[in-house]
């Protein structure tokens, strides 16, 4: 019965070719190969987001008058609504962490080298999209914290010269953060960003299939002397089952976090109330938030905030275009590792300072 179904499908779809290709696919196995799992982990968490997000869409209402109440309804009245909502928030945080881990591991293992430069660039854009997903989603429960955090966050865009005002109006759907902002960010969060992300993920996966997994230079150079150092395992079923193992652990983690540390509703947003003390964005933006606090008002006559935002923008652009100017010798790779380590340390320290509540 199952075989007849398979035969029927194989006559029509290139299933056999697909399975054949996957059967021949191998994955390098070395001391760093544990980092290979983070790409798939990010994809798995993205899948969870799409699934739980679609479920939330059945009950959520994207207007200032109803958003908070609809989330309250989901969490209080819909069976397992509390679970779906908390999983969505926790998984968002885990996805950002996983994407960042994936980014740094690819950087330090130099997997951006040609021919994988397009994979790298599409991945970088996906990382920025992930942060955009987080930013747009944060406002949707329409509580005090997220309302004011969105106001502060969009204010920063105003420091961009020339087009700053336009960018702010574009993001807010108007001059201030209002119900229009909510509807607009909602549209980005559930339609526009997912559309772009799907395309890029498709491209990213296609390229990964095309070029296979990259082997780090240190392993490659050792293999030049002794070919037996590069060992591989088949993708099907070995790597895939290990992937499944990791995904199942994360699933258990999500269930535990959502049940034992459910996300709170907060207080409904009131634009006329004073901003609650200690407003800050989600943890993955804290390093930028804290850096802006430390930057002096003017640096050599230029607006300090503008300079900091410009620097961050330049760093992001540099990261996206990295493969185009990265050298291919040992020396340049060491420089890149140094830059990456410093960036990681900087972001970690800034995040820690922000959590500590440090004021400059």
């Amino acid at each position: 019965m199952y075989r007849r179904l398979r035969e029927w499908l194989e006559d029509r779809l290139p299933l056999a070719d697909l399975v054949d290709a996957l059967r021949h696919k191998t994955v390098p196995h070395h001391r760093y190969s544990v980092w290979y799992y983070f790409g798939g982990m990010t994809l798995f968490l993205f899948g969870i987001q799409v699934g739980t997000g679609a479920l939330l869409l059945l009950y959520y209402r994207p207007s200032a008058a109803e958003a908070y109440e609809s989330v309250q309804f989901i969490v209080g009245r819909v069976p397992f609504g509390w679970l779906i909502r908390s999983i969505h928030v926790w998984s968002a945080n885990l996805m950002v962490a996983s994407a960042v881990a994936h980014f740094f591991s690819v950087l330090f293992l130099h997997a951006y080298r040609p021919p994988r430069d397009l994979t790298w660039m599409s991945g970088m854009v996906l990382l920025l999209l992930t942060l955009a997903f987080g930013f747009t989603g944060y406002l949707l429960p329409w509580n005090q914290v997220s309302f004011f955090a969105t106001r502060v966050g969009t204010d920063i865009a105003a420091s961009v010269p020339g087009i700053g005002e336009f960018i702010v109006r574009f993001m807010r759907g108007g001059k201030d953060v209002t119900g229009a902002t909510l509807t607009r960010l909602f549209g980005f969060h559930v339609a526009i960003l997912p559309g772009i992300a799907m395309l890029l993920v498709g491209l990213h996966l296609l390229l990964v299939q095309r070029h296979g997994m990259s082997t780090p230079p240190s392993v490659e150079s050792r293999a030049a002397e002794d070919p037996s150092t590069i060992r591989t395992i088949p993708f099907l079923p070995h790597f895939l089952l290990r992937d499944l193992f990791a995904w199942t652990i994360v699933l258990a983690l999500l269930a535990g976090l959502s049940t034992l540390y459910p996300w709170e509703l907060g207080v409904k947003a009131d634009p006329f109330a004073p901003a609650p003390a200690g407003i800050r964005p989600e943890w993955y933006f804290l390093w930028a938030f804290q850096t802006l606090k430390y930057v002096p008002p003017t640096v050599a006559g230029i607006n300090g905030e503008l300079l900091a935002v410009a620097a961050m923008g330049a760093a992001a652009a540099g990261a996206v275009l990295l493969p185009l100017f990265a050298g291919h010798n040992h020396g340049s790779r060491r420089i890149i590792v140094w830059i990456g380590t410093s960036a990681l340390a900087f972001m970690a320290i800034m995040t820690w300072l922000s959590l500590k509540g440090g004021q400059p």
């Binding site: 191998t26 079923p237 199942t248």
Partner: protein, 400 residues
């Protein structure tokens, strides 16, 4: 020294001698002129000469008036209905006749000048409307104005009066309502004593004064056995338990027969009232305990992320009943006090039940989590075994 200066100095001396009540009346001509700019009389077209006698032969001199003549002088206009109609048709014209009935007025009429007259409260040259927050007789400022004399032992002792009422009032719930919350419905000195006819209410009249706002308590008290007893004893109502100026938040501990309870000041263990008192106190305590226990469990549930709207509504209901129960204390009888307490305890236990249901639901979730985690763990263990037993381990890449 010039003549004008000498005159001014004399005026100062006269003022110092004749004005023991240091009023805001400005002593110097310049000061008075400056203050008069804000005065409502100035806006009405009055001048210095309207009140002060002027010696036509010399430069206008503004003598300080003898104190007993001030009130009749003000009353010349303020007691004339036809005249006042020209300026403020609704303003009252009985202030002077009220003043004559007051303790201040009676003493002033008998020749005692060390009591208050118009300018001591309203000011002399910068008279503002009562609704102006800068006015010394604006509701928030009345206690301070009365307190200028009534809180000063030097002024009160000659009259054998206490000087503590203003300080007592300042720590009362009424002062907190008026001064901290800005609730202008809260009483200050003149609300109970009257302003122009200021006299302490008589012992049997206190309940009428409090009843202006505390209607229900007064109704209950008047219908209770205590009214006749207090009248017969000459015992001041309301203030026997609540004090008159230092009215602090009453508490359930007022009711009881133990040390420190207010009832115990007259009642003891013997007598039929003892049983009623004990029952009332028991009901109040049970109600209070029910409320705080329900609040605790609801807060725990909310902190854990559960929604307990119905519980909060029931708790609100229970608090309403607690307020009613406490009011019904003033009937000094077992019913309908007991009924109100019973309803309150019922609502509180409904709230408690809702909170406990939420906590139980939390446990259900955690048990569900445990089950799911066990299934996942079993799956992981089996999967790991399978991975280990897979036929091809890591291969040399040289072997295709």
């Amino acid at each position: 020294m010039t003549r004008t200066a000498a005159v001014r100095l004399a005026a100062l001396a006269v003022a110092a001698a004749l004005w023991p009540c240091r009023s805001p009346a400005q002593i110097t001509v310049d000061g008075a002129t400056a203050a008069f700019r804000d005065d409502v009389h100035e806006a009405g077209g009055f001048t210095c000469a309207s009140c002060h006698k002027v010696d036509a032969a010399r430069q206008p001199r503004y003598d300080a008036m003898p104190r007993p003549s001030i009130a009749p002088m003000c009353a010349r206009c303020h007691g004339d209905a036809a005249y006042m109609r020209k300026f403020a048709p609704q303003v009252r014209i009985d202030q002077y006749s009220q003043y004559l009935t007051s303790t201040h007025g009676k003493r002033m009429a008998a020749g005692e000048v060390r009591v208050a007259t118009c300018i001591d409260c309203h000011g002399a040259h910068g008279v503002l409307r009562v609704s102006d927050p800068r006015s010394p007789v604006a509701p928030a400022n009345v206690a301070a104005t009365c307190g200028r004399c009534h809180a000063d032992p030097a002024r009160m002792t000659p009259f054998r009066r206490m000087d503590n009422p203003p300080a007592d009032w300042a720590v009362s719930v009424h002062a907190a309502a008026l001064l901290k919350r800005g609730d202008t419905s809260a009483p200050t000195c003149n609300s109970c004593h009257g302003s122009h006819g200021a006299t302490p209410p008589g012992v049997t009249d206190v309940v009428n004064v409090c009843a202006q706002c505390h209607v229900r308590e007064a109704q209950l008290f008047r219908a209770s056995p205590k009214k006749d007893i207090f009248d017969a004893l000459g015992q001041a109502e309301c203030l026997a338990c609540h004090s008159n100026h230092r009215i602090e938040s009453p508490s359930d501990s007022f009711i009881g027969l133990g040390k420190g309870a207010v009832c115990a000041e007259c009642h003891d263990e013997t007598g039929e009232s003892a049983a009623t008192i004990r029952t009332m106190r028991g009901d109040l305590d049970r109600l209070s305990a029910g409320l705080s226990s329900a609040d605790a469990v609801l807060t725990r549930a909310e902190r854990a992320g559960m929604l307990v709207d119905e519980g909060r509504a029931a708790l609100r209901d229970a608090r309403e009943h607690q307020v009613q129960t406490r009011v019904l204390v003033h009937s000094f009888a077992a019913q309908p006090f007991g009924e109100a307490a019973r309803l309150g305890i019922g609502s509180a236990s409904r709230a408690q039940e809702d909170g406990e249901a939420a906590m139980r639901e939390l446990q259900v979730r955690r048990r569900g989590l445990a089950v799911a985690t066990l299934a996942i763990l079993a799956f992981l263990v089996t999967l790991w075994l399978k991975i280990r037993r897979l036929p091809l381990g890591p291969q040399d890449s040289t072997r295709a």
